[in-house]
Symmetry: C2
Subunit: 372 residues, 2 copies
């Protein structure tokens, strides 16, 4: 059991660092904005729990109108069900019969659906569903250019849908149509074009599936970078956005509809860190490194300080370069904005939720490490 970094009521200055903190005001504005959009667009919102890995946040999203949660992993689904979520879509393929049995066991109490791109997955899921006497919702994933998972749109999707429909214990629901590559494309117009192309592939697949006598009830996809396009398309029925609740450096770097940096959602997630050494001139060393944030999308930004940059990170240290004359005394706390929120969250056990300079709540990251 790790040290719990704060107590409710503590001042922010009393939080033990490094810590993952959430600015509750910004977080709640982000939540409301997306919920309002989905409501206005008349599209179901099923936020992605791979971002937050936290049942407490999932329940808040559902309370604000979300129909349930997406997740990527069976372990995440287990943590969400244990936390009270009752409608989960695993937006990913599952092959292993033991994992499928775990999912089928969850389906006793929870609406569970998942993705397919191969016959072997269908056979295994059908077996597990029959063993547990449950029905699993089944979506065909189509590859929209990510070249990761998913069958070729059109006839291949229809053939797989037909195979699913014939499999006992599975109910064909529709298409997983997520254009992941488009999410972080810098220009707004290019993201829009990518989703237009995706829409063509989706229509091709819907039509092919219709020729097999089947109907796509669900077309699910969209992320924080493109949700406005899927949301207004009248084609997708469900949005899967995750990062909008927190934002990160990667999403802040893309362009909004006005050509300015994307500012529809606010940075609400930070790493709180303390200056622990100033012995080397021109630098301040903070106590958060690679075990508190990830670097695959670059170094975190120093929040609210344009005259400071994090220039290096090792396992447990971060190096802030100070412009001439800037002083950052020992013991100063600094907020870093992560470059990539999902894997950063997965390093922590708690969200320390902050409002008006005080700790208002601690939310356990109940699915942290649940990657199986």
């Amino acid at each position: 059991m790790n040290f719990v970094p704060a107590r409710i009521g503590d001042a922010v200055t009393e939080i033990d660092t490094p810590a993952l903190i959430v600015d509750l005001d910004a977080f709640e504005r982000n939540m409301k904005k997306m919920a309002a959009f989905a409501d206005l667009a008349g599209i179901r919102l099923r936020p992605h729990a791979k971002t937050h890995r936290c049942a407490a946040i999932a329940l808040k999203q559902i309370q604000m109108g979300a129909v349930g949660q997406c997740c990527q992993k069976v372990g995440e689904a287990e943590a969400l069900v244990q936390g009270g979520v009752r409608d989960i879509f695993v937006s990913n393929e599952v092959l292993d019969i033991r994992k499928l049995r775990r999912l089928a066991a969850l389906a006793k109490s929870t609406t569970i659906s998942l993705c397919f791109d191969a016959l072997e997955q269908v056979d295994a899921a059908s077996k597990a569903a029959q063993e547990f006497d449950v029905e699993l919702g089944a979506l065909v994933e189509i590859d929209l250019g990510m070249r990761r998972c998913g069958v070729v749109p059109g006839d291949a999707a229809a053939a797989l849908a037909k195979y699913i429909e014939a499999a006992p214990g599975l109910k064909f629901l529709g298409l997983q149509a997520y254009q992941g590559k488009a999410q972080h494309v810098r220009e707004y117009a290019d993201r829009e074009k990518a989703i237009e192309a995706a829409a063509t592939a989706v229509r091709l697949s819907i039509d092919a599936i219709k020729r097999e006598g089947l109907r796509c009830q669900v077309i699910t996809g969209g992320g924080t970078g493109t949700y406005m396009f899927e949301g207004l398309s009248r084609l997708w029925t469900e949005l899967q956005c995750g990062s909008y609740i927190f934002m990160d450096g990667e999403y802040s770097a893309i362009e909004g509809s006005d050509g300015e940096p994307y500012a529809e959602f606010e940075q609400s997630l930070f790493i709180l860190t303390t200056v622990m050494s100033t012995a080397v001139s021109g630098r301040a060393i903070v106590d958060a490194g690679l075990k508190s944030y990830t670097l695959e999308k670059g170094l975190p930004a120093v929040h609210s300080h344009n005259d400071m940059r994090l220039v290096a990170a090792s396992d447990e240290h971060g190096v802030i370069a100070l412009d001439g004359g800037v002083v950052l005394p020992l013991g100063t706390t600094i907020k870093l904005a992560p470059s990539h929120c999902d894997p950063t969250v997965n390093l922590h056990d708690f969200y320390i939720c902050v409002r008006n300079g005080r700790v208002e709540a601690l939310w356990p990251i109940s699915a942290r490490g649940a990657s199986s």
Copy 2:
């Protein structure tokens, strides 16, 4: 509580993936090799727990002759003490009085020492030690060119040593002299030169400290890339190597004394992952991504398969590019060798220890996430 990915006695093929696995034969050979070197060189070995974050491994190292453990964080020290370790050096500065009180509390049952590079840290540590009526060992960290923590070698080190010696509750022990930058320098001769330069700075500091009437009992440093130089220097008294037990892509990329890739230690740590999708031609998608390994030092290598390369990773997927004609069927398990072992270990809850194709042990990563 996450799903436990294996049971003792399971075949390797039964391990739930993704999982962190340890090849016990290779691991034990690595352990023995370093212990034998330290013995031969007549230098104390104090392996770094920031690599393994596991009390079970710490105890094995101590059983083989190590004098105790290094760690970087107070939380790591707590987990190690709880696991039975009785001599811990925090090879890092600690400033916060609350953290120092946690360390002082540990010093009731355990020999505890730590690093200093500022007067404020000395004042705070002295206060905590007096409050708990314990003595904390104190080392002055000197900056050997990393430009991270540490005072300028020589007179500044001596001044800080003198200040420490006068502080109630602290006992001046010597120098933290770790040349971190040298560890991953590719050429063997360049690493040797870097440690020669570090030795000059160490001697300068020892002499300045002697002029203040103080003696350095301990000169501690060294890592997996340079330990042979510090070990044979007759200057350093203690080695802090950590990664040698596991190795990783970063260490495999440096040169050994023979000009060949560094092969003194064997890769013993792997991510076990399963092919979950083969729907896109020329690719196999595995079920381990950024939540199972880190990328700041590059993508993991596919172990024992020269015809396959991991070419991309997203949060929960890895993409293996297949050369023309290579087939990797759905359900195949693959071992990935991480590029950077320490932060990769920190993503997992267990080491699944494997020998002769079976799970022989599960070691909890008891200090996972203990970054405060």
